[in-house]
């Protein structure tokens, strides 16, 4: 695997790293981790429990890659090292459970419903403190998307055919996002086709050091989706989107699939990215009455896919004003895939930090383009007594469409918003 250019030890990554920001310890920074990995590989540093702990503390948020002036591919180095981490000790119970659950979304659905029941009994504050259940979405988040549909697409069609990545965790705990994404895409003349049999994208396995299993899952998806004759595969979960963009390097040595993998990697789009790329109708009645709205960058969107502007454009259109920015908005919330199960203490610190920033912003709605972040921030906001609503930008847009008049009237009068 190509691990890119050498680290020149300049330290520019330090301040971008959430664990360094929390701990202030060089070994918990990207530069420190690279230094440790190199020393371990060179046989100078024992691969002992402390060394492992520093490396396992990495959130894989990729913020350091954005900060790096030298083009060091930190994730590649880390991924290359993860098998050694995994081999060095048994997978932590949390991560094992999480990986297991991805194969049985039913378990997640049950957990989500249990959480909802507790909330209905007025026990949300208590429930938020429970492991696992604390992360489940709150009352405000509908388990089932609103019965109201946005309406049939307008007269025009973009001619695009896309599939929505069903995802595993996201779809199970927040099916409303997928549903809203579908309706919003269709509302803007993008045909969404169902590709049955999709599986997990494999990201969770890759980040646990099991690249073989990840490649298996990827191969499955590549075969399935490449055969469907799509223009794009659209994701609403940042982590999946970022990982699918790496399918080409993951399957580069697979003679049969490398071409298809490359195509799929190039065709992967975040839902906001595609909407802005293809053009979307601004809602007639933006949600101007819902209080201050902020946008928060999901790491894998910002650092993994370089998607920063598009979700803001969507959010701005949905709420009719410029979204606020949180302080330290570039910092990971601690969700990071299954990190909050694997490293609960650091995840909680970062979650509290993010919740505090949300509280300080006085926003009543926070738009985030990734369900993991939504759940994590929501849990810590509730624990801190902050009553902000956490929504995916596409949910906001869907809501604005629903509250406005029918699209036929709207689309005839409004010009499309496109990326400048």
């Amino acid at each position: 695997m190509d691990t890119g250019l050498p680290c020149i030890h300049c330290g520019l990554c330090l301040h971008s790293c959430p664990t360094y920001r929390e701990l202030g310890s060089e070994a918990d920074s990207p530069r420190g981790r690279i230094y440790l990995m190199e020393a371990i590989e060179a046989g100078e540093q024992e691969f002992d429990a402390p060394a492992r702990a520093h490396l396992e503390g990495c959130l894989s948020c990729k913020a350091c890659e954005t900060a790096c002036p030298s083009g060091v591919d930190f994730s590649a180095r880390m991924d290359k090292f993860r098998p050694r981490l995994a081999a060095a000790h048994r997978l932590a119970p949390g991560r094992r459970a999480a990986l297991l659950v991805t194969r049985f979304p039913l378990l997640l659905k049950i957990a989500a419903r249990t959480a909802r029941l507790l909330d209905l009994l007025g026990l949300e504050r208590l429930r938020r403190l429970l492991p696992g259940l604390g992360l489940m979405p709150g009352r405000k988040r509908k388990l089932r998307a609103s019965g109201l549909t946005i309406g049939s697409p307008g007269k025009r069609s973009s001619g695009l055919r896309v599939a929505l990545l069903q995802g595993c965790v996201g779809n199970a705990v927040a099916p409303g996002i997928t549903r809203d994404a579908r309706e919003v895409l269709e509302r803007n003349g993008i045909a969404v086709v169902d590709v049955a049999g999709q599986g997990c994208c494999g990201a969770l396995y890759a980040h646990s050091g099991d690249r073989e299993r990840a490649a298996e899952l990827a191969s499955h998806n590549v075969r399935l989706l490449d055969a469907a004759g799509l223009d794009h595969v659209v994701t609403t979960v940042a982590g999946c989107g970022a990982f699918m963009r790496e399918y080409d390097s993951l399957l580069a040595h697979d003679n049969l699939l490398s071409g298809a993998a490359q195509r799929l990697a190039g065709a992967t789009r975040d839902v906001s990215e595609l909407l802005v790329e293809a053009g979307f109708d601004p809602p007639m009645h933006p949600l101007t009455d819902i209080g201050p709205v902020a946008y928060h960058d999901a790491c894998h969107l910002l650092h993994g896919c370089s998607v920063a502007e598009q979700p803001r454009i969507i959010t701005r259109a949905a709420v009719g004003r410029e979204p606020l920015e949180l302080a330290e908005s570039e910092l990971c919330c601690g969700s990071a895939g299954s990190y909050n199960l694997e490293q609960p203490s650091m995840a909680a610190r970062l979650g509290r930090r993010k919740a505090a920033a949300l509280g300080a912003s006085e926003a009543s709605v926070l738009a985030v383009g990734n369900v993991g972040c939504i759940l994590q921030i929501e849990m810590h906001a509730r624990r801190a007594g902050i009553d902000a609503e956490l929504l995916h930008p596409v949910e906001l847009l869907a809501r604005a469409y629903r509250e406005g008049p029918s699209p036929a009237a709207a689309s005839s009068r409004l010009s499309k918003i496109r990326r400048r």
Binding site: I8, C10, G11, L14, H15, G24, A27, H54, P69
Partner: protein, 478 residues
């Protein structure tokens, strides 16, 4: 090399005070403190302390002082002269957990922040009030204010706005015996400017725990121009011509062909492939003035043979241009497996001479040398490209670097404009200053640091210089 282990009782006392996260032990945690951005020499501390408050800092230092144990302060470790190398220093004290913003005082145009606050975050704190913190070292996204004060950091915009000391209003300093001083630079104190003296003292006079910084009005308008020249000599002459026209640009930066090649590969700004050198010229101030000044700059550049002059009006283009410049060091990895950055200063008008001398030196030592310069300040950053697997070439790199700095001195300049003496350049101090001045500097240090416990062996040449010198590795800076 390693430092000897410490008395267990002392470590226990420190741990009780600082907590588990405030005291680092063990091979893995300590190994990574072997070097900062200067990787030529390495030494591992026996203990790293990360106090979170001034009180913890003061108590830690006091305990070490009582025990007679040497210590070295460290900010983000972005320095490139080995200023925080723990050579023969058992304990390192980091400021990374001292991150509080103590005061934002817009009416008085100042902020007070703790030493571990990152440079760029100061500007972020006040930019909505139309203000900013002017010193902007290339590492500003990571380097800390404590480190900036200790190094008297500059940056591309020092030409017009000055360096750290010109923006410093006061300091909180923990002396090497643990005493805490609040030093103000206000007029009429009837004493000496101790805060000014501590600025640039590279952590040898005490540990800075907070700084009060002056804020500067963000200019109404900014014009960033790119001028392309056939070679470095023409570009150097254009720098003088711009100054001679009576302009004080906010920044005046130069990159030569090799740097342009690397930067283009990394960021794809769109520099012409055949450019021999480019100048980045930034003018700021009132919008009413800028157009006229841009015309003057254009004329000056044209007279010196510029082949193309572009004005980056779009903020994105401007940001990309600056990114290309500020991250140019990092991009060099794309040209050469290793490189070594030097830092010297010549009088601005001597740029053509030093450029010729660097060319000669490169030819003499058979090295490729790329040039990045804060041309407006006469501050040069030659980048000596080499392969670290070739020990003979490494030796030539070290010799060539020294020759370039000696050439700077001959031309009336200095051996460091912003990276500091650290441990890297102590041997060049006698070439820079006479014995009386060096003795006065030693006096100054002894007054603050009488037992030489706080960051010994730095700045001034000392009889012992016992560290493991490894192969030079690439490093950034500037």
């Amino acid at each position: 090399m390693s430092n000897p282990p410490l008395d267990a009782g002392l470590v226990t006392r420190l741990r009780r005070m600082l907590g588990e996260e405030g005291l680092l032990t063990g091979e893995a945690a300590l190994r990574v403190y072997e070097c900062d951005g200067y990787t030529l020499e390495k030494a591992r501390p026996s203990l790293v302390l990360l106090p979170a408050t001034t009180q913890e800092m003061s108590r830690s230092v006091e305990l070490l002082h009582k025990a007679g144990i040497a210590f070295v302060p460290r900010g983000a470790g972005t320095g490139v002269s080995g200023g925080c190398l723990p050579a023969d220093i058992p304990v390192m004290i980091g400021t990374s957990r001292m991150q509080r913003i103590r005061r934002v005082d817009i009416d008085n145009r100042r902020v007070e922040v703790e030493a571990g606050v990152v440079n760029l975050d100061v500007t972020r704190l006040v930019e909505s009030d139309g203000l900013h913190y002017a010193p902007d070292p290339s590492s500003q996204a990571a380097c800390t204010i404590g480190g900036n004060v200790a190094e008297n950091s500059g940056g591309p915009h020092t030409l017009k706005y000055g360096v750290t000391v010109n923006h410093l209003l006061g300091l909180e300093l923990v002396l090497p015996d643990g005493e805490v001083l609040q030093l103000s630079r206000e007029a009429g104190s009837g004493g000496f400017d101790l805060a000014g003296v501590v600025t640039g003292s590279e952590g040898t006079l005490g540990i800075i725990t907070s700084a009060t910084l002056a804020l500067v009005k963000t200019p109404q308008a900014v014009a960033t121009m790119l001028a392309v020249f056939p070679g470095v000599l023409e570009a150097s002459r254009a720098v003088s011509a711009i100054i001679a026209a009576g302009l004080v640009p906010a920044a005046l930066e130069m990159m030569d062909a090799l740097v342009i090649e690397a930067v283009e590969a990394a960021y794809g700004f769109g520099f012409p492939a055949d450019a021999g050198a480019v100048l980045i010229i930034e003018l700021d101030g009132l919008a009413a003035a800028l157009d006229e000044q841009c015309v003057q700059v254009t004329e000056a550049c044209n007279e010196q043979g510029a082949s193309e002059i572009r004005r980056a009006d779009d903020p994105r283009e401007r940001a990309l241009l600056w990114k290309s410049r500020k991250r140019a060091f990092g991009a060099m990895g794309r040209l050469s497996p290793s490189y070594c950055t030097q830092d010297g200063v010549v009088p601005r008008s001597a740029l053509p001479q030093i450029v010729e001398r660097i060319g000669e030196i490169g030819r003499r030592y058979k090295l490729r040398i790329a040039n990045i310069m804060h041309a407006g300040d006469g501050n040069i950053h030659p980048l000596l490209l080499y392969d670290e697997n070739d020990p003979e070439e490494v030796a030539r790199v070290l010799d060539a670097g020294r020759d370039i700095l000696l050439a700077c001195l001959e031309l009336g300049g200095s051996v460091t404009g912003e990276h500091g003496i650290g441990i890297e350049k102590t041997e060049l101090m006698p070439a820079s200053f006479g014995p009386a001045t060096l003795a006065a500097m030693a006096d100054l240090r002894e007054v603050f640091n009488p037992r030489a416990l706080c960051n010994p062996h730095k700045i001034l040449p000392s009889d012992r210089h016992c560290v493991e010198v490894t192969r030079p590795r690439p490093r950034g800076g500037g």
